[in-house]
Symmetry: C3
Subunit: 270 residues, 3 copies
């Protein structure tokens, strides 16, 4: 499928029409934001992390989003149950390796999760993607110390090995898929000054993957919508507090015209 404004807009309307249930096993910092972003886009979020219900909830959902942001052992156990349960039912899985490379615990957890069966979509910043690939990566907590292009080789290697769509987010967002590499040059410098927008991107990947079988299109749609809504939110915006509010409003009001006018997508760069 072509990755264009037309196909991306089709995915947006599909989310709004179908209101897919997205099951998130995610971190404490962003739960509220990502739930609100999913609702603003038109999806229906659920957060559930207990071992007692993780696999049961995963199979009720249209997509599973696993995010290792504030990790601990009970959460890892839930991820180990939910991920195979979703995969067994062909429910798309998004993995967000928050802070991979910062500590051994995070890096190892991500690799173990991938070894259970690769996710449909892996989305992270450059440092995280390189850490997943065992490259040298300078990671600074959960913020990347690298430009997104630095991780292109690592992302391609992960895609080759595991077959998953890989997205590297940054000033330019990349989507590495079977057909090649796509670059999206939307967004705004205020976005890294708001916590959890990377995690929100992963949650939106889940919403789109729930309604769109082509994982490359689902990922491109999520990254495009993030960037375009970010630009809309940043216009005349006094600071990151207002940005957060306007970003949710933008997800809610986004029109085909907004998307067409603003989208800066380079379908095949390499």
């Amino acid at each position: 499928m072509e990755l264009t404004a037309t196909s991306i807009w089709g995915a947006v309307t599909a989310v709004r029409r179908q209101a897919p249930l997205v099951h998130n096993i995610t971190n404490y910092v962003v739960m509220n934001n990502t739930a609100n972003a999913l609702l603003a886009l038109g999806a229906s979020p659920v957060m559930a992390h207990a071992e007692n219900e993780a696999s049961e909830m995963a199979v009720l959902a249209g997509a599973l989003v696993v995010n290792i942001g504030t990790l601990s052992d009970p959460w890892i156990r839930a991820m180990h149950l939910a991920l195979p349960a979703a995969r067994a039912r062909h429910i798309p899985v998004v993995l967000d390796p928050v802070g991979a490379g910062a500590t051994a615990y995070r890096t190892q957890t991500v690799r173990e999760l991938i070894s259970l069966g690769p996710p449909t979509i892996l989305r992270g910043n450059a440092s995280e993607i390189m850490a997943v690939h065992q490259d040298e990566a300078r990671t600074k907590g959960v913020d990347s110390a690298e430009a997104s292009s630095t991780a292109l080789a690592a992302a391609r290697a992960i895609h080759q090995r595991h077959g998953c769509v890989v997205s590297i987010s940054g000033e330019t967002d990349y989507v590495i898929h079977e057909g090649g590499t796509l670059a999206i040059r939307n967004g705004h410098p205020m976005m890294p000054r708001v916590t959890g927008l990377g995690c929100t991107a992963s949650a939106l990947c889940g919403a789109f993957a729930a309604v769109e079988k082509d994982a490359a299109l689902a990922t491109a749609a999520a990254m495009a919508v993030m960037g375009v809504a970010g630009e809309m939110a940043a216009e005349g915006c006094p600071g990151p507090g207002s940005f957060q509010v306007r970003f949710l409003d933008a997800l809610y009001v986004l029109t085909e015209e907004d998307l067409r006018r603003r989208l800066r997508i380079v379908p095949e760069i390499g």
Copy 2:
């Protein structure tokens, strides 16, 4: 007591004057919102979930709010300690059965909590109330797939059996109490596009129950204030991000005149 704008406004001023401490054992997604809603209304929130302090904190408070939104075993153990401790001191208890019916774990947990001794107030959406009553309920994650009126029979049966006030929230909010059933037709379609407003309603039930012995009035006050503040927040509102902000502002500035002018309450419907 009559359930009118006058008695509801009396409950609002009592919360503002007494600033009751409300102890919440609630879910990760909404903790921040519900704490802020309680503060905006004039109450004083505390969140504490450790087994080590749950019962000690519960008896310091004017009300206990138990919400099963992001459940796990350690939290259930805290609920099992706090709930009887509050009841033994005649401290009102609000139970919010978030996602009951979605997984066996949630449904079972709610029933076990009720078997410890019924709450003063049970508040949920239609799917959740029907799941508590063991009816057939189509639950979709934490969002109801049913209109609130669908659960009236279940709510009445729960009220009959356990004596608690039951509230079903939805486009119309119902309050089932000793004197009959009351309907509140306030609110706005943007409210389900913001996460945790149901949980916020339960938290406000706690604030009102802390200052008002008549649990039916406390529940009606919470649902009325939610709906009226929601309408105030929605006026000219561009999207759910702005709605959240304005909703807290509306709770803070709400006047008797706002309440009188907007309240659409039908005191006895069946």
Copy 3:
């Protein structure tokens, strides 16, 4: 070093320039707010609480902030690992004794943490500071029932015994340090109507301590910036929802002129 607008502004520019990594082991209610406040100020937050990575993360950071707001045993174990790890590397530690005095569990946890080695900065409200000192303190949940000046003697005793800078927040904020006691009279009555601003003050203490060796200056800078940004946010503000948003914006846009014009600091009061 003199504690003036000039030295405080120097600390602000140092945070913006260096973007220090601040490791937070903090409570669920405020994680999102404090992460956003750190980002708005110019720092880089990370939240990590697993025993498996707490000490590894702590030594990557420029400062460690430990906050006992929604305590449980696994979190205490992480604090017991991270705190000594940070101290061993001379990484400044901020301790926020949220709700100390409300339950034995919290009071005891704070005292145990201090016995591991005192923090660089201890920041709390009057009730909490008095509880740490084993004074009689009327604590109401997590909100202080006392004016900040009530805790001056307790704060001075803690400073004498443990050597840490102690800050008591309230209508007047105090900073008790080697050179004496400083009072900052900024802020706005709407601030206690927003959850987590005390926790945010502690997080900002961490950001400043990461770039400024003089802990008294770091603490004064945090309290001054909180108060000044709070005043900026409150101007023409309709309620606490809007306040939250504007507060983050104010942290982001704060200029030297804002600070100079508004700062009401009394460098040595006793």
